[in-house]
């Protein structure tokens, strides 16, 4: 473990945003924004340098304080983590640029929201910390950093619906972290270590481990708005200011997913059963159908987009039943694993780009209209062609039409579904696609329809539209480097691996 190359970047990736966040507190509104935007650009630059470093050197580590695990904490930046960090950086920098223009432009209607920048940089540090962390308890702390800053960002507008949604979100987040932490306590009690790597060697199946897995999974499901616990997401995401909604949807929920993936794959392999995978897949499938249907029924743009997040996260959960092999199948013979992993990564990436773009576009529309009821989107194409194009592109990626990243994800997912013989997930994927096509094209239809008013849209800064469009394009461009990206990820230990199960033992239930 410790013979991997040591690099300072992991520590800097967490330290730098917090440093800038803290520094920004010393300034008033404008200065704070300047420090904030510089901080985001620096962090993004650092993330890209670190990404390049990992592509060259492979996994790098940073032993904090020089104390090796199990006593100390180790930051590990493997290809999987670096892809998530890179994604955060790219999406983050666009959202930062957008926010830099958005908040001054919105000052007249929303008033000043001075704390955006420090909170966002804290959030960024938390996300980087989470992706890098290799320690169960440290993951809890980063989850809390993310949770508090995310909720604080969500309530920035200070309006009562946002506050109410924020409190709901916060309570869900605290409950989730506490459930997670209870699992950590049990794991620490039964193994005496918190380091993921060491845990994977010493963890033994048993009631305690299974229960720990159960509470950890439940906790993380609450945090990532997995199906029965999705109730907090739509109000919280839809009532936040536009750049914040984009951050919450594109990045924050991915954090919990990342931990879930890491823990299931790296740590809890011993106590997973086929049934556990099927159950979590079922939760995902219901989320896909329910979320898409709810999105279809909404009449406010941001609510549509928020419900669509529930559905898109459902696809992520549907990865799990495919990676947990049925009894009797070995990971060597399971040739569907790499498509499924590719599907997972692409779903994460495509959703991050497309959803961020979508929320930014929604922000632009609210700016132009003063509200986001969709019947007022009439003739959007005529008046705001860039935004219309961005919505169209992002929507195409969400539906999963070629040649978008979403298409890559759906293709690989379907392929994995067929190859693994678990064909019963296929109708879910297709129904989800059709339903999402339904709500996306409902928007497009309105966008092309003739307007009933003379000049329905107030002018908005063009740059905002361009940032949203670039993000939407990003959800297409990610397909181009797919081959090298997958090869890069395959050098990560867990990418492409599967959990082999035996017939007996492990938990039988999960909800």
């Amino acid at each position: 473990m410790t013979d991997l190359p040591i690099s300072p970047y992991p520590a800097l990736l967490v330290g730098l945003p917090i440093l800038m966040a803290t520094l920004s507190l010393f300034f008033r509104t404008r200065g704070e924004a300047i420090v904030g935007i510089i901080g985001s650009l620096l962090t993004a630059g650092l993330a890209l340098i670190a990404f390049v470093e990992v592509t060259k050197m492979g996994t790098v580590i940073h032993i904090l304080g020089g104390w090796e695990p199990p006593l100390g904490i180790l930051l590990r930046m493997d290809p999987l983590a670096s892809v998530f960090i890179g994604m955060t950086a790219v999406v983050g920098v666009f959202i930062s640029l957008y926010a830099w223009r958005y908040f001054p432009a919105q000052e007249a209607t929303n008033g000043r929201l001075p704390l955006f920048w420090p909170l966002w940089l804290f959030l960024w540090a938390g996300l980087n910390g989470l992706f890098l962390s290799n320690d169960l308890f440290n993951l809890f702390v980063t989850l809390e950093v993310i949770g508090i800053s995310a909720v604080a960002l969500a309530v920035l507008s200070g309006k009562s619906p946002a506050l109410s949604a924020g409190l709901r979100y916060l309570l869900a987040a605290i409950t989730g972290s506490m459930a997670y932490l209870f699992g950590v306590a049990l794991i620490y009690g039964s193994t005496g270590t918190l380091d993921l790597k060491l845990l994977s060697q010493v963890l033994e199946p048993g009631t305690t481990t299974s229960f720990a897995l159960l509470v950890i999974t439940l906790g993380l499901m609450i945090k990532m708005a997995g199906f029965p616990f999705h109730f907090w997401l739509p109000p919280a995401h839809s009532s936040a200011p536009a750049p914040v909604s984009a951050l919450l949807s594109a990045l924050v929920v991915k954090g919990a997913f990342y931990i879930l993936l890491r823990l299931w794959m790296e740590v809890f392999g011993v106590s997973l059963t086929y049934a556990a995978g099927q159950l979590i897949g079922l939760a995902g499938a219901i989320a896909v159908i329910w979320g898409s249907w709810q999105a279809f029924m909404q009449t406010r743009l941001k609510l549509i987009v928020a419900h669509s997040s529930v559905a898109q996260l459902g696809y992520l959960l549907m990865i799990f039943p495919l990676i947990i092999l049925a009894p009797g199948v070995t990971a060597d013979s399971a040739d569907w694993l790499s498509p499924v992993w590719t599907a997972g990564i692409y779903q994460v990436l495509a959703h991050a780009f497309a959803k961020a773009s979508f929320f930014l576009s929604a922000g632009i529309i609210i700016m132009a209209l003063g509200h986001d009821r969709i019947e007022s989107l009439r003739d959007l194409v005529g008046h705001m062609r860039i935004t219309a194009l961005a919505i169209g592109l992002a929507g195409v990626s969400l539906i999963g039409l070629p040649p978008s990243g979403g298409f890559m994800a759906k293709w690989m997912l379907l392929k994995g579904i067929f190859l693994s013989g678990q064909w019963w997930w296929a109708p879910v994927v297709l129904t989800g696609s059709l339903l999402s096509a339904g709500y996306i094209f409902m928007l497009l239809r309105l966008a092309f329809a003739p307007s009933r008013e003379k000049a329905p849209f107030r002018p908005v800064p063009k740059k905002l539209e361009v940032y949203a469009l670039l993000l939407a394009l990003g959800s297409f461009l990610i397909v181009l480097p797919a081959d090298s990206l997958v090869q890069f990820l395959e050098s990560s230990e867990i990418f492409g691996s599967g959990i082999e199960t035996i017939l007996e033992g492990g938990i039988n239930g999960n909800d």
């Binding site: 070629p402 392929k415 092309f448 329809a449 397909v479």
Partner: protein, 498 residues
Amino acid sequence: METTSFLPLLILISSLIPGILILLLREEQAVLRTFLNIFGAVAKVGLIAWVFAGYLRGEEYTFVFNLALDLTFTLRVDQLGLLFASLSSVLWLVTTLYAIGYLEGGQHRRRFFAFFSFCVTASTGIALSGNVLTFFIFYEFLTLSTYPLVVHRGTDKAVEAGRTYLWYTIGGGTVLFLGVVGLFVVAGPIYFGQTEIIAGLISEYTTQLTILFFLMLTGLAVKAAIFPLHGWLPVSMVAPAPVSALLHAVAVVKAGAFGIVRLVYDVYGIGIAEQMNFLSVLAVFAAFTIIYGSVRALFQDDFKKRLAFSTVSQLSYIALGVAIPGVLTSTGAIVHLVHQGIMKITMFFTAGNIAETYGYHKISQLNGIGRRMPLTMGAFTIAAFGMIGLPPVAGFISKWYLGLGAVEAGSYWVVFVLLVSSALNAAYFLPIVYRAWFCEPEQEVVSQLRSGRLETQALLLIPVVVTGLLSLAAGVFAATAGSPLSIAREIAEKLYLL
């Protein structure tokens, strides 16, 4: 597949880049836009001609880009693809000219021409795609790029038509998606022409491959407008005439028909398809669609609607030709792909010209129009005769080969279908011709578009004359080397030699 060539990619880029550039231009920059359009169209025709020449010399053009795992994006030149690509590029050039004239002074021309270019990019992409994945990518891309064209007018009716169009095509696309992924899983990444893969697997995976065939066929049948999946086509003729021309002749329906040809000939192979009795199902549906479309066309008074139902009927000739195994029917099917395109585009241009010049949309208004627009109606008459199947126009050739092939294959009922449909074709086209030339106009209307000695604008007139002549030439010179027929025949012979 050994040598990588960027030429096929260049063919796509020649319309993609102008499209993107047009989107970036301002609405007022009409001259630059027109230049880009025509430049792209001419470049595309030139490139395809070059590639065609190279191909005839025996060179191979393949462009491969590996997306991820075994997903590869492949463009490859073969005869069938080239035939379709040349058809779309030539007709695109013509339609571009027509559209420039047709939309002069209209709104949102930037958007129109941009998506127009994307649309042609997609259809040449379909033509040149070397494997099922690439085909599917462009197939969906085509759906998306035509949507803004269908709703271009922005009226409630257009938007509603766009919705119908999308539901049909996205639904079809989803079914196709399922089939394509399934095929990938069962047979791996199949390149067109590698029929031996399926042949090797068919005994082991009979059920799966049968299901997948029909899934893909259903997906493709939506665009090919085979009954009962044709509903979008008559509705979406609310679009401007160039778009209808594109939808009905060049791009969308042809993509469906072309896909069926590819599926049967180059993926499953004609032998397997016949052996598994896939084709008889297709034949029955195609035959029914031919009659059904003709009967529906008979009762339309709206000019474009009649043409639309005629398309439904005519397209199924291709499917029918594919469905009856034999060199002659295959030749007929492939050549009809081209012929129907040329003839139908002429007809839509005619309808557009009449509507633009005199504002007539109904057939009952067309009395005596031939005297006022002789060139336009002349072209229409040629095309109509072709559709009915009178020699020496192009349509005759296709029908002849189809009928001959059917006799050869012993499917006499097909001959009967062909005869009935020809009679119906005559029944709904001849009255138009008759009205135009032999009826007295009820009132004299003077069009503002009528400038100088020309019966309408030059840019509207030239395309229709050109395509009218083309459809005549395709029939008259059918026997010469390089004509669509000879190419189609070569393709068909190759198919059956294997």
